[in-house]
Amino acid sequence: MSRKKAARSKGGGSAPSAALPPPAAAAPRSPAPAPELPRNGGATSGRPSLSSSGEFYDLAFKVMLVGDSGVGKTCLLVRFKDGAFLAGSFISTVGIDFRNKVLTVDGVKVKLQIWDTAGQERFRSVTHAYYRDAHALLLLYDVTNKASFDNIQAWLTEIHEYAQQDVVLMLLGNKVDSAQDRVVKREDGEKLAKEYGVPFMETSAKSGLNVELAFTAIAKELKHRSMKLPNEPKFKLHDYVKKEVRGSGCCRF
């Protein structure tokens, strides 16, 4: 696939979306974004585009990070985006924000537009609106915080209410580096995930454990959904995650 620079429109008034990917309809299984939502949030295929940071990509998807306040959403995102851990240097997320990262999946450049949200309950009425055209949701809890795990069911209810039916969903138990403070067993996370038919893994934004994998797995699934080749075997997200996931090491709870 050639990646030549996409034409950018000049002058504010005309053809504002010339540089934008075609609408989400290009991807059969992805929902069309609601009119007031970002139009480039949809998946694209067939034409390479230029992201705002100047990186080329073939496909673009919107991923949202959700879960209780303090479970590590921002840290997970920064670990994935910049490969760094924000030890004691990050502030609580107020409202909503996003960052882009382009990754290569089976030779295809996939841009993930990753939305980081405030976890506090009252901000949910602000963030709901963004669920609708999300292609994937990463739902996080903190293995050292029982309440954040207990709230997962409420989050799932919320997701079922506001997100698209075919949204790619994954459950992540974060902060497994804090072995001593762990109060949620890996088995509990697995059990809950199984109950809801959602892929699951434990992560650590601090050590980097499974962070790359979580986003890569999502990107693979979305890529396979939107550009399925005739002779390609079906990609199975559950199996892929099971095969690739790494344990949190010696200190099994």
């Binding site: 504010g12 970002p38 480039n40 705002s52 990050f90 609106a129």
Partner: protein, 339 residues
């Protein structure tokens, strides 16, 4: 000599409020600005000391309003905020109230939510470090816990941690910070932080309407690309420009906020947008627009706080409270109907 150099180096790396300057801080242009601003500060300090004549009181008046728009000297800031916001009166009329809130029974959920944000409030400020002595985290915790029990309808909302943090840095007094927080959340700002956040959602819409009237090309751009105002400005409202604009500029804005009320937030927002209209209009897609809105809160235009504050009263043009009240009414209806 080396020690002196190190000391100076440290003093420069941390601003007078305790915030560490970022690695890419432009010392040269800041110095150039500050040497000019120092002249203003000195002139204002003389004017204010004449106005106060050593007394700890002032009456609201056109002259005081004018003085406040030109900036309250830091040594009088806490006092003037306390007086003009009504916090002083409330504090005097309720002796011991704050202490009783702290000693009373606590709501576990509220306390938990506040604790979650303790290490996430100003990690870049040396006074809020766990190792600082005194550690302002304790003060912050007390103010927020007391406030959550005082105003149960609001409890604790993220964003309040930053606001209370600034109040503590300026007043250096826990109880005064509490009463100033109450002035802001209970009276000056219209329902930004309660669980439904109706006032916040309404004011974001109001800003959208004002931009339609005053900077229509930008409103049209936002509409064309489907960018909701909440995405680019919610932090402006919730954090009252903390971490968005430079500290000194935020404090100058708050001077007016305490005297003139929430209208000032619209003036600041409109000034930022109008001033950078051409720049914003260069955006050709959704992420570009979001990026532009981050860019316009940086650079000399916002660092030069004295000029900036003059601009906010001229650039957006007339902005009557009647207009805002009317827009708030219609926008609130609109927000409510959207559920």
């Amino acid at each position: 000599m080396a020690g002196l150099e190190d000391g100076r180096e440290w003093a420069y790396r941390v601003d007078p409020y305790g915030f560490e300057r970022p690695d890419d801080f432009d010392y040269a242009s800041y110095e150039a600005f500050f040497s000019r601003y120092l002249v203003v500060l000195t002139r204002r300090a003389i004017k204010w000391s004449k106005l106060l004549k050593g007394k700890n009181s002032i009456q609201k008046s056109l002259k005081v309003k004018r003085y406040i728009r030109k900036g309250i000297p830091n040594e009088h800031r806490a006092l003037i905020w306390m007086i003009v916001s009504g916090a002083q009166t409330n504090m005097e009329q309720n002796p011991g109230y704050y202490q009783r809130l702290l000693e009373g029974e606590k709501n576990d959920k509220l306390v938990e939510a506040i604790k979650t944000d303790m290490n996430r409030t100003f990690p870049d400020n040396v006074k809020f470090r766990k190792t600082a002595d005194p550690c302002l985290q304790h003060t912050l915790y007390n103010v927020l816990v007391a406030y959550g029990h005082h105003n149960k309808a609001v409890g604790y909302c993220q964003g309040m941690n930053f606001i209370a943090g600034y109040l503590i840095l300026i007043t250096k007094n826990e109880e005064e910070s509490f009463w100033l927080l109450d002035a802001l959340i209970g009276r000056i700002l219209p329902d930004y932080y309660s669980p439904a956040m109706l006032g916040l959602k309404t004011d974001q819409e109001v800003l959208g309407e004002l931009v339609k009237m005053k900077v229509p090309a930008v409103a049209e751009l936002m509409e064309r690309h489907g960018v909701m105002w909440t995405l680019v400005v919610s932090r402006w409202f919730i954090c009252l420009f903390i971490d968005i604009l430079p500290v000194e500029t935020v404090l100058r804005i708050w001077d007016c906020l305490f005297y003139e009320g929430s209208k000032i937030i619209f003036r600041v927002a409109l000034t930022l947008i109008k001033q950078h209209q051409a720049f914003i209009l260069e955006a050709t897609n959704f992420p570009d627009i979001c990026d532009k809105f981050k860019q316009i809160t940086k650079g000399t235009f916002v660092t030069e706080c004295h000029t900036f504050m003059q601009k906010i009263f001229t650039e957006p043009g007339s902005l009557s409270m009647a207009t805002i009240d009317k827009l708030r009414e219609t926008c609130r209806e609109k927000v409510l109907s959207q559920g």
